[in-house]
């Protein structure tokens, strides 16, 4: 990254070992404001681990994470979310018995710090419900807002993952395989929703489908064996012989 660029999320020297296994090795990344970066790499490269480190589900053994210039390395996950660092999960991590309107309203209320108000009726939180409905509308979920989450088609559940993250008003959104398990034609639609997110949200997404990565990412980080092999624009990544060898070589033209 060039100096002077507006970096929202910066990690330096991130290292994590599980016993003798180095899952993250001296990783440095910098996400500028409004980024649409992809994180790619073969299975076991440590992509999800990196997201877990950035969001605080895991603590790094070494390294530093900064959000908007502030050190967040030691913060609990919920506190990072409140500062604007949100994520989605590769495996649906939803509230099966809640409806989308309830789940997203809950996330909005948690952001506003009024979820603990036990004396006030839920239905009286008008602005929160309206905001939640707007978010669901953005993701095309307005029609199913009052259906129980467990009864929704899988693709809509993947969208609800993103809706929940958006309700926290993120500055940085880390999407762990948002289209995991979604048929190829639907996943393009899902990514156009992601591409249409507000321009000031910085997005880093993990995705295996190279067509989608090259279409939607402005920059690509290639992770191999827990270390960053290369960070560059899609053209450079596409033509890099090392990337072709370790990653694109298998199963891609």
């Amino acid at each position: 990254m060039m100096a002077g660029e507006d970096i929202v999320l910066r990690a330096t020297g991130l290292t994590k070992n599980f016993g003798k296994l180095d899952v993250t090795r001296d990783v440095a990344i910098a996400l500028p404001r409004g980024a649409r970066h992809a994180l790619i790499g073969p299975n076991g490269a440590g992509k999800t681990t990196l997201i877990n480190l950035l969001t605080g589900q895991l603590q790094p053994d070494a390294g530093r994470i900064e959000l908007e210039g502030g050190d967040i390395t030691a913060l609990a996950p919920a506190n990072r979310v409140r500062l604007g660092l949100s994520r989605t999960f590769q495996i649906n991590t939803l509230f099966p018995d809640l409806t989308p309107i309830e789940a997203v309203t809950l996330a909005v209320l948690e952001r506003q710090r009024c979820a603990g108000q036990f004396w006030r009726r839920l239905a009286s939180h008008n602005e929160a419900i309206e905001e939640s409905f707007t978010i669901l509308g953005q993701l095309g979920l307005a029609d199913v807002a009052t259906r129980t989450t467990r009864t929704l088609p899988y693709g809509q559940q993947r969208l609800l993952e993103i809706a929940l993250a958006l309700a926290t008003r993120p500055r940085v959104l880390l999407l762990d395989e948002p289209a995991a398990g979604v048929p190829k034609d639907e996943s393009a639609a899902l990514f156009s929703v992601i591409a249409a997110l507000p321009a000031d949200i910085s997005v880093l997404f993990i995705e295996h489908d190279m067509d989608i990565v090259f279409k939607f990412a402005s920059r690509i980080i290639v992770l191999v064996g827990g270390a960053v092999l290369l960070e560059a624009d899609p053209q450079t990544v596409r033509s890099d012989p090392r990337v072709r060898e370790v990653y694109l070589g298998r199963g891609h033209d």
Binding site: T55, A76, P77, A78, V81, R82, S86, R87, F89, T93, L94, F95, P96, D97, L98, I101, E102, A103, T105, L106, A107, L109, E110, R111, C114, A115, G116, Q117, F118, W119, R120, R121, L122, A123, H125, N126, A128, I129, E130, S132, F133, T134, A142, D143, V144, A145, T146, R147, L164, A165, A167, T168
Partner: protein, 328 residues
């Protein structure tokens, strides 16, 4: 329930409808007055049911809504009972202030304990609640000078409610008093579960892993509901002490902790009325079965529990609600 919603106002109305009073509820509360008129000989049983139902509601708040499994909640019931009893023995028999202090005492202890409860999950959580229940039981047993130990606490005298209504031997005042407290606590609980806090509790129950990822401090939610639940359990215990003028060690017993969970599962968790219905069925069944055979009445309860768990996974009330929904 499944109609598509096309505007935020409709979404809000949908949420509002979920917390609206139904005619069934009004009928139900009117029915709680029937023992005064038609079954005066059963007033002491009705009093026991009201008290146990209040205790079951306290457990429903944490188990049914927040998903905290407990096998030691009699701890707070007993603390409330002993607190109300002991202040009465030492000269303060005014029921309402005594009851409030008993609830507050149990609630404070509950809040302290909640810091331990929120550290553990699953089997460890059940064991911690169980262990705390045993500890409290043995503590009350050992403090013979204060609690009367195995002899029970004697010498409680409860003054008339509002200085007017003496506790009579037929149980009119006792049931009226217990029913009023049950109703007020029910209103409070109903308000709570229909609030944003109630939604947050359901979020915790549905997926505790997601809560931090939406920025929720779910442990502080859990501490709050645990303290509120402990306070309500303490009120129930206090009612028992005040309306029966005695406190025995069994108010702290494992059986009481386990029975209340059985009552809740019979009726259906996470719907408040399930707690009341389950308690009613459990205690009426015990009363009737004990009349047939005083030794083996748990056999009948066991059968009932098996049938409900196997064929009505959401409890008897959940089963009834499904029939009503189908009929519509």
């Amino acid at each position: 329930m499944q109609t598509p919603v096309s505007a935020p106002i409709e979404a809000r109305d949908w949420l509002r409808r979920r917390s609206r009073w139904s005619p069934f509820e009004i009928l139900f509360w009117l029915a709680t007055l029937l023992p005064f008129i038609f079954f005066p000989t059963y007033l002491p049983l009705a009093n026991q049911i009201a008290i146990a139902a209040l205790f079951a509601i306290s457990v429903d708040l944490i188990l049914g809504y927040a998903g905290i499994v407990t096998l030691g909640h009699a701890m707070f019931f007993g603390l409330g009972a002993y607190f109300a009893g002991i202040i009465s023995v030492h000269g303060w028999g005014e029921p309402i202030s005594g009851l409030l202090m008993a609830g507050l005492f149990a609630g404070i202890i509950g809040y302290i304990i909640s810091f331990l409860i929120t550290r553990v999950q699953h089997l460890a959580l059940i064991m911690v609640t169980l262990g705390l229940g045993f500890l409290t039981y043995e503590l009350a047993n050992a403090l013979h000078w204060l609690t009367g130990g195995t002899d029970g606490l004697r010498g409680i005298s409860t003054w008339p409610v509002f200085g007017q209504f003496r506790f009579d031997m037929w149980g009119y005042t006792a049931y009226g008093y217990a029913l009023a407290v049950l109703f007020l606590c029910f209103l409070l609980s109903r308000r709570l579960v229909n609030s944003s806090f109630g939604l947050a509790l359901r979020g915790i129950r549905e997926n505790v892993k997601r809560m931090p990822a939406i920025g929720a401090d779910h442990k502080s939610h859990l501490r709050l509901i645990y303290a509120i639940s402990a306070a309500i359990a303490g009120l129930a215990g206090g009612l028992l002490a005040q309306t029966t003028n005695t406190v025995a060690l069994d108010s702290l017993s494992f059986e009481r902790s386990a029975d209340v969970v059985v009552m809740l599962i019979l009726g259906g968790t996470g719907r408040l009325y399930g707690a009341i219905l389950g308690t009613f069925i459990f205690l009426v069944a015990r009363d009737q079965l004990a009349g047939i055979n005083p030794q083996y009445w748990y056999f009948g309860i066991g059968m009932l529990l098996m049938v409900v768990v196997l064929f009505m996974p959401k409890g008897i009330l959940g089963f009834l609600a499904r029939i009503v929904a189908r009929a519509k």
